[in-house]
């Protein structure tokens, strides 16, 4: 084999392995887009209602919680289904060592955020603080996988943490928002801006980013 042939062959190896390694990123994008669009839809309604009828409660705390748990369920189920399909296509086990490692890192912040958020909604009736806790804990969960995640997911984690902190400061510093008779609208706005917008931006960035094949082909 000549040096040029060896170089071409090795570039082919690099391209094929990079494509495989970027599969999670590609596979996760449709689930992120679906979850993001659902989050924007679910958050627009309470915000519009609050602007039109300022002191009227639209859905109540329990329905707010159920709506967001359903969206979480749909996005998670879609993600799991896409990953399972991809694993089957590649004849690999669905629960790989990598997935176990990711779940070990991802689960603790998600459990803490989930329990504290639900407690804040059901017992302390504070929807906005619950939404902020969910945003921050989700961001921290993504960052906990930084050692073995694609860089785009780490950036998404930072975006959630930064957005969560900024929104928390805005909420804490603005008594007009904190003291509203119903905080459905600010809570929905927090969810829409973060889980909605950030996931849609992430998905679009994945769809429009250059694939490894294009990079190595140059």
């Amino acid at each position: 084999m000549s040096t040029t042939e060896a170089a071409l062959e090795n570039l082919r190896i690099i391209r094929s392995l990079m494509e495989k390694a970027h599969i999670y990123r590609a596979v996760s994008a449709p689930a992120a887009l679906t979850g993001g669009l659902l989050a924007i839809l679910a958050s627009t309604w309470p915000v519009q209602h609050a602007l039109a009828h300022q002191h009227e409660v639209l859905m109540g705390e329990t329905i707010f919680l159920v709506v967001w748990l359903v969206i979480l369920g749909i996005a998670s189920a879609l993600n799991v289904a896409l990953l399972a399909k991809e694993a089957a296509r590649r004849s690999q086990p669905f629960v790989s060592e990598g997935m176990r490692m990711a779940l070990r890192a991802f689960a603790p912040p998600m459990i803490v955020g989930g329990v504290v958020g639900i407690g804040l909604i059901l017992f302390l009736h504070n929807l906005t603080l619950a939404a902020l806790i969910w945003v921050l804990c989700y961001g921290l969960a993504l960052l906990a996988t930084a050692g073995f995640s694609p860089r785009s997911l780490v950036r998404l984690g930072w975006a959630f943490v930064i957005a969560g902190l900024v929104l928390f400061i805005v909420w804490a510093a603005t008594s007009d928002i904190r003291l509203l008779s119903s905080d459905e609208a600010p809570a929905a706005a927090v969810m829409g801006l973060t889980f909605g917008m950030l996931h849609v931006v992430y998905a679009l960035a994945v769809f429009f980013s250059r694939k490894p094949a294009e990079v190595t082909a140059q």
């Binding site: 040096t3 040029t4 060896a6 170089a7 071409l8 090795n10 570039l11 190896i13 690099i14 392995l17 990079m18 495989k20 390694a21 970027h22 690999q92 086990p93 790989s96 060592e97 990598g98 490692m101 930084a146 050692g147 073995f148 995640s149 694609p150 860089r151 490894p212 190595t216 140059q218």
Partner: protein, 100 residues
């Protein structure tokens, strides 16, 4: 004119090139993941990993806190630079061949 001696012979071997490529795509890879992704035997994979570690291209981390010890690998700064240089040299070779 390309100096073919620029090719990093350590990375030029297919098994080690595959390992370096996977390690370049994300921070850390568990031994079992590398094995299943590359379809190599334990012995073959360990030999290549040791060669790359001896050259200072990769770093091994052992985690014995769980029920089963887990070994993972990541590129060092020197390894990342060496891999980038290697890909650049391959690109130059292909470009030179296309021009002739």
């Amino acid at each position: 004119m390309i100096d073919f001696d620029q090719i990093d012979k350590l990375i030029h071997e297919k098994g080690r090139l595959s390992i370096m490529t996977l390690l370049s795509t994300r921070g850390e890879w568990a031994f079992q993941d590398l094995k299943s992704e590359l379809g190599m035997s334990d012995g073959n994979l360990i030999t290549h990993l040791r060669t790359l570690a001896t050259a200072g291209y990769i770093k091994e981390t052992r985690d014995e806190s769980g029920t089963r010890p887990r070994t993972s690998y990541e590129l060092t700064a020197a390894g990342r630079t060496a891999f980038q240089n290697y890909v650049e040299v391959l690109g130059e070779i292909v470009k030179a061949a296309q021009q002739t």
